[in-house]
Amino acid sequence: MAEAKKEQTSTHKIGIYLWIWGLLFVLSFFSYMVDWYNFQGLLRWSLILFFMFLKAGLIMAFFMHLFWERYALVNVLLWPMTAIACFVGLMVAEGKYTVFSRLFYFFVGGA
């Protein structure tokens, strides 16, 4: 009932959804091209991550409506990701350490 009165703000013209939809296909196509052209190393990873975050951002902002939501909700949802980011960063380091130990102790024959 309160929603009905806010119709003007919560329904948007169909155009915006079609634009975002199209943009998502374009970005997916680019992601696919990263593999097709067989980029390697840092270029590959940074392109993959770049397109991934862009697509994720578009879905969250427009399909999930976050672009129009009040800041309180947006912040409550995004700040906990810092804990995940910390976890990711540390596990990258841990993975490197594990493979180093395995190579060093089992293959190189280290002490």
Binding site: A83, E94, Y97
Partner: protein, 612 residues
């Protein structure tokens, strides 16, 4: 412009205003509170016995269901601890206590106490009962989901208890369930036992996600008029932050449980490295046991704050009410709770200093661990400053609060020892660690639980618990628990390892024999004393002194319901309207030494109330 637009408009005070009967709204209406944003909640009313007492959607009934189930599970955990102490104190007396049995008891005791007693009791028990009442709602926002959440917890408990009866018995891997040993032959319960444990934990997580969503959304979106976040009692802040932690930390436990289940059932190698068993290579290869430890402790550290934060919040309210004084530094207490909650996600590997993880991590985690000690210490100072020059009533509730402060400070200080990498290396996996976490997570929150039960029993039942029995219960429990865990610090210092079935024959271990006997005796005495408490509970249900309304003369909303005990819908015809925080005790100029949250400013015109 209309007043609703200024959503933070609070009353404007004029000393000695004449408009005590102001009827219109506007600048001179000191009793103004914003109108309701939402319509009244559509409550479900059960009419049959089953829908009123079994599959009940009323949060108060669900809270009692959680409490009873959690306490029953806790008694099982307590009995396990007695049996452990029997073995440690008198190793030769009980031949049925084999090494395998001992490790199984250690594991089940730990998991039951941390997860199934403390988490369930604080969040499910106290959370369900107190949250709607303290924020002024009629019930939780999703009563049906709330009801399902309890029954998921119940099934999780049944599955856990079933693990006692399966072939091989329950898992004996320690409550931390570390692979690869947990699922390999040689560890007790590595067959069905670990599987049922993992299934039980997964069910628990799903149930508590459902419950947790209820608690969070009720606190954020269903408060009554005038109840801003900074007017909520600290009990709610503690339970709220703990619930947020639960929603964000349990996923890591779920993920690690699922992966370990697959390692067991499908012989995947998520956590299982190359293993040679009796000269033969197992089919596992390439997995990472330390990954489990990271995942587990990413959950495990927030978990201990899930246990501690509600205790912090509750004890703040108990101290405040029973010393007739506002909590010192309420705002900083709130920020400390929130800060501890946020930081708790960045300290997990202080449980892993000796695990063989990347050596550089110690720097990072020791730093964050010492940082998290700061807001925690701040809270301790504020509790003491609340008591300072307060009108302290030395009743059972207050005694348990004081016991909390003593044991928590003790446990907190030993945490500083363990948070430093270099000091942790010799102390890790010794009785020092056991002493630390029992003090800070066992005794201290338990003191709060007892205090809280003595405090809120009159609300739930309309009767007081017996004071004399209460004080007896307190002194035996407090002194006894101290006698159990304080000597353990010394055992840890001399290097006695934890999770050892017996003390063996080396000189330093034999020196611990007498100490172990003493600790065991203390444990049995404290255990027996809990019967006093249970007897008190049962007796007072029928024969306790009638309490009437608001017997402690408290300010928070749960004491201000029209009926005591509160009935379905909590508030009768009209929802309460809040005008102040929950800590207006001993306000100069007020008639009484307390001003309930619903008191309008015009009723206390001559009091020097702070603007809250």
């Amino acid at each position: 412009m209309s007043d609703e637009l200024n959503i933070n408009k609070k009353t404007k005070y004029k000393i000695k205003t004449k408009s005590s009967t102001a009827s219109g709204r506007g600048e001179t209406d000191i009793d103004y509170v914003r109108p309701a944003e939402l319509p009244e909640q559509d409550l479900y009313h059960g009419h049959s016995f089953i829908t009123k007492w079994i599959f009940c959607q009323d949060a108060k009934v669900i809270g009692v269901q959680y409490t009873l189930t959690a306490v029953f599970t806790g008694v099982v955990g307590l009995i396990l601890s007695w049996m452990m102490r029997m073995q440690l104190g008198y190793p030769d007396l009980f031949p049925f206590l084999t090494a395998e049995t001992y490790y199984q008891m250690v594991t089940m005791h730990g998991m039951i106490m941390v997860v199934y007693l403390l988490t369930a009791l604080f969040l499910g028990g106290f959370g369900n009962y107190l949250i709607p009442l303290m924020v002024g709602a009629r019930d939780m926002v999703f009563p049906y989901v709330n009801m399902i959440s309890f029954w998921m917890f119940f099934v999780a408990v049944v599955v856990l208890m079933a693990s006692f009866f399966v072939p091989g018995g329950p898992t004996g891997s320690g409550w931390t369930l570390y692979p690869p040993q947990a699922i390999l032959e040689g560890t007790p319960g590595s067959g069905y036992g670990i599987l049922l444990m993992l299934i039980s934990l997964s069910l628990f997580v799903i149930g508590f996600t459902m419950g947790g969503l209820n608690y969070v959304i009720t606190i954020l979106q269903a408060r009554t008029r005038g109840m801003s976040l900074m007017r909520m009692p600290l009990t709610i802040w503690g339970i709220f932050t703990a619930t947020v932690l639960a929603l964000l930390a349990f996923p890591a436990l779920l993920v690690s449980s699922i992966m370990m289940t697959l390692d067991k059932v499908l012989e995947t190698s998520f956590f299982m490295p190359t293993i040679i068993k009796a000269g033969e290579a197992l089919s596992y290869d390439g997995g990472s046991p330390i990954l489990f430890q990271h995942l587990f402790w990413f959950f495990g550290h927030p978990e201990v704050y899930i246990v501690a934060l509600p205790a912090f919040g509750i004890v703040s309210d108990l101290i405040s009410v029973h010393s007739r004084k506002n909590i010192f530094g309420y705002r900083m207490m709130v920020w400390a709770i929130v800060g501890i909650g946020a930081l708790s996600f960045f300290v997990w590997a202080h449980h892993m200093y000796v695990s063989g993880m990347s050596p550089w991590f110690g720097f990072f985690f020791a730093t964050t661990t010492l940082i998290i000690a700061v807001p925690t210490a701040l809270k301790v100072y504020n509790w003491i400053l609340t008591l300072w020059r307060g009108n302290i009533r030395i009743n059972t509730v207050m005694l348990f609060c004081l016991g909390f402060i003593v044991t928590f400070v003790n446990g907190g200080i030993t945490g500083i020892f363990l948070g430093n990498v270099a000091v942790d290396v010799p102390l890790s996996d010794t009785y020092f660690v056991i002493a630390h976490f029992h003090m800070v997570m066992g005794i201290a929150p338990l003191m709060v639980i007892f205090g809280a039960i003595y405090h809120w029993f009159p609300l739930v039942t309309g009767r007081f618990l017996d004071e004399k029995l209460g004080k007896l219960h307190f002194w035996i429990t407090f002194l006894g628990a101290y006698s159990i865990y304080f000597p353990m610090h010394y055992l840890g210092f001399i290097g006695v390892p934890r999770r050892y079935f017996e003390m063996y024959d080396s000189p330093y271990m034999t020196s611990a024999v007498g100490m172990n006997e003493f600790i065991s005796l203390a444990a049995f005495i404290v255990g027996a004393a809990q019967f006093i408490f249970f007897y008190n509970l049962v007796k007072s249900l029928r024969l306790g002194k009638p309490a009437g309304k608001n017997p402690w003369k408290a300010n928070s909303l749960e004491w201000l319901t029209p009926d005591v005990p509160p009935t379905h819908g909590n508030w009768g015809e009209k929802l309460p309207v809040v005008h102040r925080w929950a800590y207006d005790y001993g306000v100069p100029g007020a008639k009484e030494d307390y001003i309930p949250q619903t008191t309008a400013p015009s009723e206390v015109k001559d009091a020097e109330v702070e603007k809250t």
